[in-house]
């Protein structure tokens, strides 16, 4: 007899169900939505960084054939309720000054929207934009965080009176003064992270369709959560949330950008209501680069208290963050950066002080690991400490990294360190990469005038983080599952996948738990009329949505077995679900097809009145015990000192995201994050000049990594330390992007060590390398 091996989908490289749409051109993105009578929007945008609007002439544009509406900032503002937008709205309130959807009195960055034009085609809408004249009185631009600190600079928001957001007093954790008193020496550095950005291949996009007969607004959105869009749209348009339906199909990437809904998207919905017809706006690439949002511009004054044998006792950190104009996300990050900066290391004390500057640049948005500055600063600093003390960087990390289960059991900033495997990731890296052999090659290469470097960095990420003993739940992820009439299962999740493959991974988990083939589970996303509230972000879906899918499948199965027990006159405990049927164990002739159970449940009076016959089950999952994600990355590079080009010879990842749901999807997340980190260090920069003029508005100026720059990436999965009885999947979306910049930065610093170069900044394109080694003069 042939042995039947029990197979599980969870843990297997199941091919993605999404790909059947994506690979054949049948996926429907917002720009693919075409509605009858649909009009097209375009925006007139500010050409200057900072100024007052002194005149606006839209008459010629209004007269252009094909133009249906021209809405100024004043006109639009009269049609909306006040409130926040974007991340601030989604997170429950604005921090910082209030502002209008389109500019009314002032413009605050290049690309600030001033007028909305709606026309029969995008071509005509853009023609009309050309006919609109805006007069400005120039104000001096505040083009850097340092400039924002200068009280003589003109306030970007007059009502604030300054360009600095209220500063919180320094937070002190542990015994920071004691740590510095006990130190053999203090090592200081001024470390910077440069401005770069998400750049999803699909920019922001919306089709808003208001039906004047029903008073209902339907929004086709590119978003990380349809309910976030609904709540903001309803609030700003003064509608009941139940009168707003938000739908989303394929989303062409986001990486944090499409969190909530933006000023332009709300303006388009207002225009649709005003006109009573559908209006589409597709952000073009120049708009996307200039004004959709940018991230990661912080500088840090850091002091480390260290002993001569390489123990880092404590840190004093002062952060200055450039939040751009219209502060939102930028004001929310200090807490998480300071909370995470000790990483997986034993520190006795930390002080952290932060200042958030408002500047005439694009607004600071979430970008894959928004708090990643903490890893950049710490891991670069650790290599600088190692260099100063003459200790190998690997050895320095080993002397400081925590061992799971041994004190300290919490970070100095408070989070439990339960299940941290940073030490194992370092040790596995040392097994995988022969450091001694590299040092020999490096020495030999230097003899030939070639500069090789090796760098590593270690991080942990609360994805979702371990649940503290007696502490609050890690989340409340809603999910529903329904047994359909044909015996298949539909799972309704608030997750809004935009590349992560949740329709595959959540189906893998539910199929295993319920006991049906993968193909029988359909994961429904992206419709406020169908799915529960939720969102995708923060590397939380593996644990939260994975656990929710498992739990709801279990609950639905319990319900099915209960009903089958009545039909088969057997105890549910004696039943098994196999081959799409429920049967009494060992009695295959008793098998009832799932479809028959669904049919019976739908039949009135078939079961006793006290039996719950609903096969539509909703649960809320709290995140279980959670756990850390994290790992160590190691890069080997060669720097061509003639051209400044950096070639990545080898890139190795040892990561731990707990139990893998689908290794191919995990590896895709890791590689994609590494690629963005490669881009951040070697290519990408959202550059401005001193007048706040944006210099990187095309892909000829904002350079993204291609298949020529991103190396093959070796990945080892640790999959250690189960904390929870059922759910040990942990998030992996952000880690690659968090730890790659310091990994490559450290490798370049190592390569250039013969030049006596200190690497204090993250952006190291060829011209900067040549400046650092003295081949060319700094700009």
């Amino acid at each position: 007899m042939e042995q039947v091996v029990a197979e599980r989908y969870t843990g297997a490289r199941v091919k993605r169900s999404e790909d059947q749409r994506i690979l054949t051109g049948r996926g429907r993105y917002v720009d693919d939505v075409q509605l009858p009578g649909m009009l097209h929007a375009a925006f007139v945008r500010s050409t200057i960084a900072h100024g007052r609007i002194t005149g606006l002439d839209v008459e010629e544009a209004r007269a252009l054939p094909g133009v249906v509406a021209v809405l100024t900032g004043e006109e639009l503002e009269a049609m909306v309720e006040p409130g926040a937008v974007g991340m601030a709205a989604a997170m429950g309130g604005a921090r910082g000054p209030a502002f209008t959807l389109l500019c009314t009195d002032k413009v605050r960055l290049v690309g600030d929207p001033v007028v909305l034009v709606v026309a029969e085609s995008r071509y005509v809408a853009e023609d009309a934009c050309e006919l609109i004249e805006v007069d400005y009185e120039d104000l001096p631009a505040v083009a850097s965080a340092e400039a924002a600190l200068d009280p003589s600079n003109h306030p970007i928001f007059e009502d604030l009176g300054s360009n600095v957001m209220p500063v919180a007093p320094p937070n002190i954790y542990g015994d920071v003064e004691g740590a510095f008193a006990r130190a053999d020496r203090v090592i200081s550095a001024h470390l910077r992270q440069h401005r770069h950005q998400n750049v999803p291949m699909e920019g922001r996009a919306v089709v808003a369709s208001f039906d004047p007969l029903t008073g209902q607004l339907t929004v086709h959105a590119a978003t990380q959560g349809v309910h976030m869009v609904r709540s903001t749209m309803a609030k700003r348009l003064g509608l009941e949330p139940t009168d707003v339906r938000v739908v989303a199909e394929e989303i062409g990437g986001s990486f944090g950008l499409k969190f909530g809904t933006s000023r332009e998207e709300i303006a388009v919905a207002v225009a649709s209501r005003h006109l009573g017809v559908p209006v589409k706006w597709i952000e073009d690439r120049n708009e996307n680069l200039t004004v959709s949002g940018q991230a990661r511009e912080e500088s840090f004054e850091v002091e480390a208290a260290v002993t001569n044998d390489g123990v880092v006792l404590g840190l004093k950190v002062k952060m200055l963050l450039d939040s751009g104009a219209y502060p939102g996300m930028g004001g929310m990050l200090a807490g998480i950066i300071q909370g995470m900066i000790p990483g997986p290391y034993k520190m006795q004390g930390l002080s952290f002080e932060s200042t958030v500057a408002i500047t005439n640049k694009a607004s600071y948005v979430a970008y894959r690991g928004p708090w990643a500055a903490e890893t950049w600063v710490r891991e670069r600093l650790f290599d600088m400490i190692a260099a100063e003390l003459g200790i190998d960087p690997y050895e320095l990390r080993l002397r400081n990294v925590v061992t799971d289960g041994e004190p300290p059991l919490t970070m100095v900033t408070g989070r439990p360190l339960t299940g941290v495997t940073a030490r194992q990731s370092l040790e596995h890296m040392a097994q995988r990469v022969d450091f001694a052999e590299f040092r020999r090659r490096q020495a030999a290469a230097r003899e030939e005038g070639r500069y090789l470097g090796l760098g590593m960095a270690t991080y942990i990420e609360a994805a979702p983080g371990p649940r503290a003993e007696g502490g609050p739940a890690l989340g409340s992820e809603q999910i529903r599952a329904r047994l359909e009439a044909d015996g298949t299962v539909s799972v309704f999740t608030g997750q809004m996948p935009h590349g992560q493959g949740h329709q595959t991974t959540l189906a893998q988990i539910a199929a295993d738990e319920f006991g049906v083939p993968f193909e029988d589970v359909k994961v429904v996303v992206g419709d406020t009329d169908a799915v529960p509230s939720g969102m995708t972000g923060g590397s939380r879906s593996a644990t939260l949505a994975g656990g929710a899918s498992l739990t709801v499948a279990r609950a639905l199965k319990g319900r099915v077995l209960d009903l089958a027990g009545h039909l088969l006159e057997a105890s549910a405990a004696d039943l098994e679900l196999v081959d799409r049927t429920v049967a009494v164990k060992g009695v295959p002739t008793s098998a009832l097809p799932l479809a028959a159970i669904a049919a019976a449940a739908a039949e009135p009076g078939r079961f006793p009145a006290e039996v719950d016959t609903s096969l539509d089950v909703a649960i809320v999952y709290d995140g279980g015990k959670g756990g850390w994600s994290g790992g160590t990355h190691c890069a080997q590079v060669e720097v061509d000192v003639a051209t400044g080009l950096v070639h990545i010879d080898r890139y190795v990842v040892v990561e731990d995201c707990g139990v893998l749901i689908n290794p191919a999807i995990v590896e895709g997340q890791v590689r994609g994050g590494v690629a963005q980190g490669v881009g951040a260090v070697l290519l990408e920069r959202s550059a401005y000049d001193d007048n706040g003029q944006f210099l990187a508005g095309s892909f000829m100026d904002y350079l993204l990594p291609t298949a020529m720059e991103v190396p093959r990436i070796e990945i080892e999965h640790l999959e250690t330390v189960p904390l929870d009885a059922d759910v040990n999947f942990r998030g992996v979306g952000e880690g690659g992007m968090i730890v790659t910049p310091p990994t490559i930065g450290n490798a370049i610093a190592d390569a250039l060590s013969p030049f006596g170069v200190q690497i204090l900044e993250q952006h190291l394109p060829p011209n900067r390398i040549l400046e650092l080694i003295g081949t060319i003069d700094p700009e």
């Binding site: 790909d19 690979l23 051109g25 690629a675």
Partner: protein
């Protein structure tokens, strides 16, 4: 604005006619006029490659061409290399097996570029594939999975786990 011009061309093997202003891009004509929305527009300045289609067998950026320039030509889009009912061709199937893509927005451009490559070099090696695809930008994957998919389609062994 100018008077629309007549356009006759063959798209995915079917003769098609249309009218478009001289300035209308081939991408917009395919997507909006012919409802072939599988071709995506990622940058509108010819860098990202998402809008790549085949024009008489050669890959072109449909955002950089005017529709009228395609008059008399044979255009192939992602819809044209896909079988009936959305059945995948061997290249698409290899990309599927390799978990090549994530969000999918760049995907049609990569499929068309790789289609053109494999038509010329059915057994292309990794260096050739990387160079041939270096004008297509993917923001999600880091490219390795895409390279592996095309290698697989070119008949090379790809280590399991990719």
């Amino acid at each position: 604005m100018s008077e629309p011009l007549d356009i006759d061309l063959v798209v995915n093997g079917q003769p098609r006619t249309g009218r478009a202003e001289a300035r209308r891009t081939l991408a917009d004509f395919l997507r909006d006029d012919l409802q072939l929305t599988g071709t995506h527009v990622g940058c509108e300045h010819g860098v990202c490659g998402a809008c790549t289609v085949l024009l008489d067998g050669e890959p072109v950026r449909s955002c950089l061409m005017f529709a009228v320039q395609a008059g008399g030509a044979e255009v192939t889009t992602i819809e044209g290399v896909t079988g009936p009912e959305g059945a995948m061709n061997p290249l698409q199937d290899a990309l599927w097996s390799s978990h090549s893509f994530q969000c999918g927005f760049c995907t049609p451009g990569f499929v068309m570029q790789a289609t053109a490559l494999l038509a010329e070099q059915p057994d292309a090696d990794e260096a050739t594939i990387r160079a041939a695809l270096s004008g297509n930008i993917c923001r999600c994957t880091g490219y390795e999975s895409i390279i592996d998919g095309v290698l697989r389609a070119a008949g090379h062994d790809v280590a399991s786990g990719h």
